[in-house]
Every structure is written in structure tokens, then in C-alpha cells.
Amino acid sequence: MQRPLNRALAAAALALALASTAQAQVGLTSTTATVTLNATKTSTLTVTPTTSTATLASITDNSNANNFSNTALTTSWNLTSGTTVRLVGWFGTPASALANGAALIPSTNVEGGINGGGFTAFTGAAVGGVGVAGGTLQLFSQGVAAINYFSSRVDQLNLRLNLVGFPTTTAGLYTGTLNVAAVVQ
């Protein structure tokens, strides 16, 4: 009489043990692994011209009425520090800003400005390490602070040849390259 009872009790105990094990498996979770994500946004400073060519159809000797077609320059920046954004234009070799074979026009006879604000020759020193001595012109200096660390501006670049007092030029096509870059200081 006692034997069947004991067996039943044992079976019940085993069933309970198995049931608790099975319940533990539902919703079993692993430990948490992690993937660390790092993404760096670097400061940016760009200058983009609307056109890469400025032209002057006909040079007039001994005159400053030699205006090239205007070019718009968009300067954009996204910064975390600095006080000034400067736009600088320069010629790589000031003595031969434009050349027509052996006929040269130096940077002293090339003048620039922005937004109709007047002309100045490209004869300055480098600005913030940008440009070359005697062939550089700062086109603008824009103050920046936290309020405008992310901003941009568009300027019209005016260029002309000032040939007043310059020897008569040789007929032909004069070409040159004006470099434009911005620098944060």
C-alpha cells in the first residue's frame, strides 16, 4: 500500500523539478555585448566659384577699364573655434600673373575686389599662410563666433587689369590662374 504512494510522490517531485527547469528556459537572455560607435565630424571650410573662368574680351592699353566677367564665390564654414574667416586670392608667380608667350602682365597690374567695393592690386603678403609674398590680396575678413560658426556667404569677385602706365601689350591671348582660398584665424 505504501509502495505505490511513494512512487507517486517521487514522480510528482521529479515533475516539479523538470517544470521549474523548463520555465527557466523561457525568456532566457544572454549577457549584453556592446558595439561602441564613434563618428567624427571634422570642421569644414570651403570656397566654391560659380564659374571657373573669368574673361576679358578685349584689352585696352594704358587703361584700367579692363574688367573681367564677374565670378560669384560661395564661402562656407562649420567651425568650433576661431575668430575670423578670411578669403584670399593670389597668383602663384606674381611676376607673371598672366602670360602671352613671353609677354607678361605682373600681379601689380591685376586688381581685385568684392561686391563693387573698389579695386586693389594683388601685391600683398600671404595671409595666415595662404598666398605668396607680393602676389596676394585679402578679399574679405569675416568675424566668426559661436553664433555663426556654421554659416556661409556669397560674394561677387571683381577683377580687372590696370594697364595705366604699363607698356603696350602684345596682341594675343593672355592667360593666368588666380587661386582663391579661405583661412580661419
Partner: protein, 198 residues
């Protein structure tokens, strides 16, 4: 003389008494032969603990050296995830691998700027999100956060697969198309990876 006789008799009784007792007990012993006591049972319970682990073999640290605004920025290498399990198939239907951010609105942070999990996409070509999918799903089996989770795979469990493992590559990207221009700086975040049985 009487004393010596009495002492001898006493010694004889000491030797004879056990033999007499044995003879008296012998009939009882014969009567108990073949008698069996009631059986007692001892219940045995041995538990095999289920196992479920996730390890990241490589790619535990993901880096984009230069984020580009208004563009999709792909992390260059995947996170290689190995999931291993040893479970009771009678009690387990699936093993699910989840990825989630604790705070979806701030999946990556850099200073006062946050990149939400809706801008962080993942894919597992051997799993469920075979195409890049935003980490904006809800928790599964209690694992994950609402709006900041992504189920990477759901592995059916049966007898043959009750004890197995698999390795998957999780590729990640940050989609900044249409997102506000980010301030320069480093943005960091932690993506949690965890498996759960259901």
C-alpha cells in the same frame, strides 16, 4: 572445596550461555528469511542549465573618421557577432538576436547635439534586416527599448538545432540625408547586442 566447585560452575555457564542463546534465536531467524521491506524511492533531479551567449569577435568599436552632412555614412567594417545556445527544444521556439540603443533619441551624442536611432541603420544579410533598416523597432521578448531596437535574426529551434551557434555580420551606417548640419566634433554611442529565447 564448595567454593571451587561453585566457581567452576560459574565459568561453565559463561561459555554455555551464548550457545544457548543462539539456539533459542535460530528458529526466529529462519522465520524472517525471504521477507522484503517496503521499497523506498529516492527522487533524482539533475538540472542542465541552458546556455545562451553573444560574443563580438571583431568590430566591437566602429569608427567613421569623417562624417559627411546630408549623406549616408557607412561604418567601414562590420561587427562580427557569434551567438551560441544550448537550450531545451521543447521549451524554446526561437533564439532572437537584438540590437538596441538605451536612449533612442540619443543614439550618438556629441556635445549638445544628438543623432537619434532613426538615423542609425543596420543590416545583417544572413539575418532579418537584409537591407539597411533604421533601429526604430520595439523590444522583443523584453529585450530592447521601444523605438530603439532592431531584431537581427530569429533562429528556429528544434531537435537538430537545440545546441548550435551562428556568426553574423552586422553592418552599420549613419544616414544624414535631410538631417540638420552637424556641428564639428566626435559623436559617440553604444549599441547593445543581446540574445533572448522565446
Amino acid at each position: 572445596m564448595h567454593y571451587r566447585v561453585g566457581r567452576m560452575a560459574g565459568l561453565g555457564l559463561r561459555f554455555l550461555a551464548p550457545g544457548v542463546l543462539l539456539m533459542l534465536g535460530a528458529p526466529d531467524a529462519k522465520a524472517q528469511a525471504g521477507t522484503i521491506s517496503a521499497a523506498q524511492v529516492i527522487a533524482l533531479a539533475a538540472t542542465k542549465t541552458s546556455q545562451l551567449t553573444v560574443t563580438i569577435g571583431s568590430g566591437a568599436v566602429q569608427s567613421i573618421p569623417s562624417l559627411t552632412d546630408n549623406a549616408v555614412n557607412l561604418f567601414p567594417t562590420p561587427a562580427v557577432i557569434t551567438t551560441s545556445w544550448d537550450v531545451n527544444p521543447g521549451q524554446t521556439n526561437t533564439v532572437d538576436l537584438m540590437a538596441w540603443f538605451t536612449t533612442p533619441a540619443q543614439a550618438l551624442t556629441g556635445g549638445s547635439t544628438q543623432i537619434p536611432s532613426s538615423r542609425v541603420l543596420g543590416r545583417v544579410t544572413t539575418g532579418l534586416p537584409v537591407a539597411f533598416t533604421a533601429i526604430t523597432e520595439n523590444a522583443v521578448g523584453g529585450i530592447g527599448t521601444a523605438g530603439g531596437s532592431l531584431r537581427l535574426f530569429s533562429q528556429n529551434i528544434s531537435g537538430p538545432t537545440k545546441k548550435a551557434s551562428r556568426t553574423d555580420n552586422l553592418e552599420l551606417e549613419i544616414d544624414l540625408v535631410g538631417f540638420a548640419t552637424l556641428a564639428p566634433g566626435t559623436y559617440t554611442g553604444t549599441l547593445n547586442i543581446q540574445a533572448v529565447t522565446q
